[in-house]
């Protein structure tokens, strides 16, 4: 039985914490951009298909695995996986479920700290009277930590440390007193803030048109987002983008869901809870996420501007300027609501990232909750400071690529095979349906066994061999004609060898530019070494835990 003293205080708290884990910055910033770039309204078809065939099965797999592991006192992925398979090496696959969280938390807390800082700037009316270019420059200066935007030296670093301190402190208060309480406050506020901004986006219409942007029209933005371009459905790039979005938005393949579910009582439901948290995340993403950034930007800057500039940076580089059109009071309110919303979306996710490490150290080395939480904070600080100081040198992106993208797919593929084929679909199905407060459709047994692993395999292969500019049709015909397969710089193979950057270095003629690129390559490789060292360090801890368990006569 579990020796952990941690437990969820209530079922609603658990569902809100799980939904908070899934709802993140990507719901508001990544989803609308992906939809616009991949067929507008037609994107929703592969998106929902991916949710039904990959997202929901993975949620059920991870919840079931977590509760199964929790029954024998395992609250983190190494020994959850170990408890499900005879092969001893499976526990080392579980290292992904700790490592990913440490690495993602390191840069994720940095974005979260921007939202904290921007709430302060919204209240202080920093953006009052600024032009759009000045607001964008403000952000560039903010992340260039050598420049101070407000007179506070190293403001970005200070806010990062404050943000990490807050996360660690909440984690040290425990699951029920810290994480669950934060979710119970944060999730309703996030939805409330989102509804306020979505109503503004939906009702803005043509009222934001100006001399500079006479064609500005919020409805044109919504129309562009939802007008289906059905021909895009035949493009594999669109399907991969939809599947990728489902991954990011549900926080599957990370190890956080297993950890949260490990604290569910053995006879309690997992099937309905998973569905509730999953659909709540979809509501925030599809309904609120699509009605804020794009309509408001199109309402003041026009659709063409949105098409050219749609991206992650709009949240910080554009939105504060747009809010200024609403007058001082509403601009302040909207700024606090927007960045507050992003903050709550961020913190409910970053808190989840702390629990797998804590669960592992508490289970295996009998560390107390506070010691586990502060050690998490310390590791994330050490890992995260390079992303803060070297943000402009690609370190942040390097963490995001390996920990926040590739690792998720590898781990999800491994766990889906483990659940359906090694543990066995019959045992897995029994685990999922035990205590279920809903009827799980029988055809999901087939989906979990065959469809989800194959779907994930395609996503993985698609990431390894991503063709140039995502042009699958062109790449296939080129291959058929014997002209080879041109890989995109974003493919795993070219990323692994930093091929794109190396080609840039080779082509550079200006010595200064060459030196800058070489410096960038050195930092990226340094970041990779650091991430690898952390991964190997966790592997060693798992080995020590194995030795300790053997000595104590526990299942190892």
């Amino acid at each position: 039985m579990s020796s952990s003293k941690e437990a969820w205080g209530s079922r609603v708290g658990l569902v809100l914490a799980m939904a908070g884990n899934a709802v993140g910055l990507g719901n508001f910033l990544r989803f609308p951009v992906q939809a616009i770039n991949n067929g507008g309204g037609a994107f929703i078809i592969p998106y929902l298909v991916s949710f039904l065939l990959m997202g929901i099965p993975l949620l059920w797999i991870e919840w079931s695995m977590g509760r199964f592991g929790g029954k024998s006192g395992n609250h983190s992925t190494p020994y959850i996986l170990d408890s499900m398979a005879k092969a001893r090496w499976f526990k080392y696959f579980g290292v992904f479920g700790i490592w990913t969280n440490l690495a993602v938390a390191a840069y994720y807390c940095y974005i979260e700290s921007w939202t904290m800082s921007y709430v302060m700037h919204s209240i202080g009316r920093t953006f009052d009277g600024m032009t759009q270019i000045q607001v964008a420059d403000f952000f560039r200066q903010y992340v260039d930590i050598t420049v101070t935007t407000t007179g506070i030296p190293y403001e970005a670093v200070i806010f990062y440390i404050l943000c990490l301190f807050l996360n660690t402190w909440i984690l040290s208060r425990g699951l029920s007193g810290g994480v669950e309480r934060t979710a119970k406050i944060g999730m309703p506020l996030l939805i409330l803030f989102g509804i306020f901004l979505a109503i503004r986006g939906l009702t803005l219409g043509t009222s934001g048109a100006s001399e500079a942007h006479p064609d500005a029209n919020a409805w044109a933005g919504i129309n562009f987002l939802w007008e289906p371009q059905f021909d895009s459905l035949w493009n594999p790039k669109v399907w991969l983008a939809a599947a990728g979005q489902i991954f990011f938005t549900l926080s599957v393949g990370m190890g956080t869901i297993h950890c949260y579910a490990a604290y569910v009582k053995a006879k309690d439901d997992v099937a309905l809870n998973a569905m509730s948290a999953g659909w709540m995340n979809e509501f925030v993403e599809v309904v609120l996420g699509s009605l804020i950034v794009i309509p408001i930007a199109a309402g003041y800057l026009g659709l063409n501007w949105v098409k050219e500039n749609a991206g992650f940076g709009m949240a910080f580089q554009t939105m504060p300027f747009l809010f200024e059109n609403w007058g001082p009071f509403l601009a302040t309110l909207a700024g606090v609501f927007w960045f507050g919303l992003l903050f709550f979306a961020g913190i409910t996710s970053s808190l989840a990232m702390g629990t797998p490490w804590m669960g592992f150290m508490e289970d295996e080395f009998k560390w107390g909750r506070k010691k586990s939480a502060w050690s998490f904070g310390f590791i994330v600080l050490v890992l995260g400071l390079p992303t803060v100081f070297l943000f402009n040198y690609g370190v942040f992106d390097e963490y995001d690529y390996w920990a926040g993208t590739v690792s998720l797919v590898i781990f999800a593929l491994a766990e889906s095979v483990l659940f359906a084929w090694v543990f066995g679909i019959d045992k897995g199905w029994k685990e999922l349906t035990t205590g279920a407060d809903m009827k799980v459709p029988d055809f999901y047994k087939f989906v979990i066994k065959y469809v989800t692993p194959v779907f994930l395999l395609f996503v993985f292969i698609g990431s390894v061999f991503s063709p140039l500019n995502g042009d699958w049709t062109g790449a296939l015909s080129s291959l058929m004609n014997g002209q080879g397969w041109a890989l995109d710089n974003g493919s795993i193979i070219r990323q692994l060898f930093n091929s794109g950057l190396r080609e840039q270095i080779a082509a550079a003629t200006d010595p200064l530019q060459k030196a800058t690129l070489e410096e960038r390559l050195a930092y990226i490789e340094g970041a990779r070494i650091l991430l690898s060292a952390v991964f190997l360090g966790i592997c060693y801890l798992v080995y020590l835990a194995y030795r300790k368990r053997k000595l104590e006569g526990r299942p190892a």
Partner: protein, 38 residues
């Protein structure tokens, strides 16, 4: 906005909101299990 865009948006948002409300309501309205109950 075109009719097809409005239809796509309302249908999608209706489905997503409907499921989110339905499942959350089911969570709220299902009584907790007693010890030994499955």
């Amino acid at each position: 906005m075109t009719a097809v865009a409005i239809l796509t948006m309302i249908t999608t948002m209706g489905i997503v909101t409907g499921f989110a409300v339905y499942f959350f309501f089911k969570v709220l309205s299902t009584p907790p299990k007693k010890d030994g109950e499955e």
